[in-house]
């Protein structure tokens, strides 16, 4: 193991990331073998399966990227899923009921997400509320606003081929997985912000030792709030990719995506204690979660099984994180 850890490419990418990449391949292999056995000869090795898994990865990736910023400051945002749904519902309602231009609706989605981020960030950074309490309240607010705004009706965005359906090209244009390209671009931007800018360094350092950062003259409240705003903005982006893939949004849902996004993030190497974050790890974690979701459905299990399995994955990821930090120097 020590020899493997010291291999040049392992040291270059990082041992944890190499393990995660191996997990993707092993999972794919596992599903490829088990799907025909468990689901009456159905095949997992199909391009459609990959595209389907990708559809899930796009919006989950944006959610996970956003929550990486918040976790890096030592906080948590459990409201990202409902916020994503609220953004999709409100902007979709503006599009279908008020006939607002599509570009404006996409911007509304981003604004709604950012406002929720601002709300969470304000109460955490300026009112010193625990982040999990704030985000639990935000879950209810987001679900409530989504329901009130749409009068508890589901919202169906324009389907492929109809007027105003160009937004679907953001997810897939013909056979080009534009969603993947945009997710990679977003991940690169997030990586630059987190690792190369003053803002990112402040966020990481706040997660490491907030009081020392404050004493050193940094406006910790401002930068902590900005992390939540980025998270909200990316939840707004996720909403666009969600409707791009699935078209219809129902009010009162979205909680189940929090777990997946947080699991992807922690699995990727972002520390639950704050101060350490990995954007590449988050992206790889997202791919694993998406593959899991697709694999479970392909094997003929219902979506409820996926909730059970993603819950177990969160437990495993969190336990592994705790153990690795106990061992690590």
């Amino acid at each position: 193991m020590k020899k493997f850890k010291n291999l040049k490419f392992v040291r270059a990418i990082g041992f944890n990331r190499v393990v995660l990449i191996c997990v993707i391949f092993l999972l794919y292999l596992l599903f490829a073998v088990l799907t025909p056995v468990l689901h009456g000869g159905a095949s997992f090795v199909k391009v459609e399966r990959i595209f389907s898994a990708m559809n899930y990865a796009y919006f989950l990736g944006f959610l996970a990227l956003g929550v990486t910023f918040v976790i890096s400051t030592g906080g948590i945002d459990f409201s990202i899923g409902p916020v994503m749904f609220a953004s999709a519902l409100i902007s979709g309602y503006c599009l279908t009921q008020y006939h607002a231009p599509l570009w404006l609706c996409l911007i509304i989605s981003l604004i709604v997400g950012s406002l929720f981020g601002l709300l969470n960030g304000y109460f955490v950074a300026y009112r010193f509320l625990p982040s999990f309490v704030t985000s639990l309240a935000s879950i209810e607010i987001a679900k409530g606003i989504g329901s009130v705004f749409t009068k508890t009706q589901s919202v169906t965005w324009p389907t492929a081929g109809s007027e105003n359906s160009w937004y679907k090209n953001l997810v897939r244009a013909g056979n080009v997985p534009t969603g993947l390209i945009l997710l990679i671009i977003a991940a690169v931007i997030c990586g630059i912000v987190l690792n190369k800018t003053k803002a990112g360094r402040y966020m990481l350092c706040i997660g490491s030792n907030k009081e020392a950062v404050r004493l050193s003259g940094v406006n910790t409240k401002k930068w902590e709030m900005i992390a939540y705003v980025i998270c909200g903005l990316l939840a707004g982006c996720a909403a666009i990719f969600y409707v791009g893939a699935y078209t219809t949004v129902q009010p009162g849902l979205g909680d189940n995506f929090n777990n997946d996004a947080i699991a992807a993030c922690v699995m990727g190497g972002t520390s639950m204690a704050g101060g350490v974050a990995s954007i590449l790890g988050t992206v790889i974690g997202t791919m694993i979660m998406s593959l899991m979701q697709e694999g479970i459905l392909a094997m003929g299990f219902t979506i409820s099984y996926q909730y059970v399995i993603s819950g177990i994955i969160v437990l495993i990821a969190v336990t592994a994180d705790t153990l690795s930090r106990k061992r690590k120097v």
């Binding site: 040291r11 030592g74 948590i76 990481l204 009081e211 050193s216 350490v276």
Partner: protein, 222 residues
Amino acid sequence: MEENRAWQVPGAWSSYYSETDPERRMEILCAGSEENPSDKLVPLRHALWELRYSDPQDPKHRVDQFLWQFVNILCVYRMSGSRFFQKKGEKEIRQIMETMGFSEAAGFGAEGERELYWEFRNAARRYFTACLNDKSYRKKYFGIAAMKQDETDKKLAGDAWKLSEGAAERFNLTDEIKPFTQAVRDEFFSIVPDASGLWEGYAEKNESGVSTVHSGVKQKGR
């Protein structure tokens, strides 16, 4: 610890180096300068004070550059686990050290190094006190659960070790930043005296764990 004896704080200045409030320190410094006009190290103390607490962009804004660099070094250390980030980390740590008064102290020889050591100890005291007083530092699991005392001690020992020996070894700076590493270590043990077991534990894990020093990287002179 022999070096520690060599770096005994001059009696007249012990209150200056035990005080952590910047304004109070300036008052002590001014008073001390008047009482000891022949002390040739007074200009260095003033220079280090300015370097540490002044914000070049906003003179009214009080900062603590040394304290910031403590957190910054830890951040660089944590982010440079893979080889991909190690060279970048080394470059960054060298840049950080250039802002920490080594060049200011160089002209004063061994006495300058001693003053730097005590300034670092003062910064380390402020850092460790901030850690112990910070509720968020003592939280785990997304800030939901509080750490036990032994967990906090372990975290503090980890931070102290990474700041001193860990960073110096990983980035090949063992000799160049000795006053810094020694100061962090000594101050940590003055705050948590019975933590030698934790410290050695970190050192052993480092020796047996993944390689930290990347051999083949040339040491640059300061």
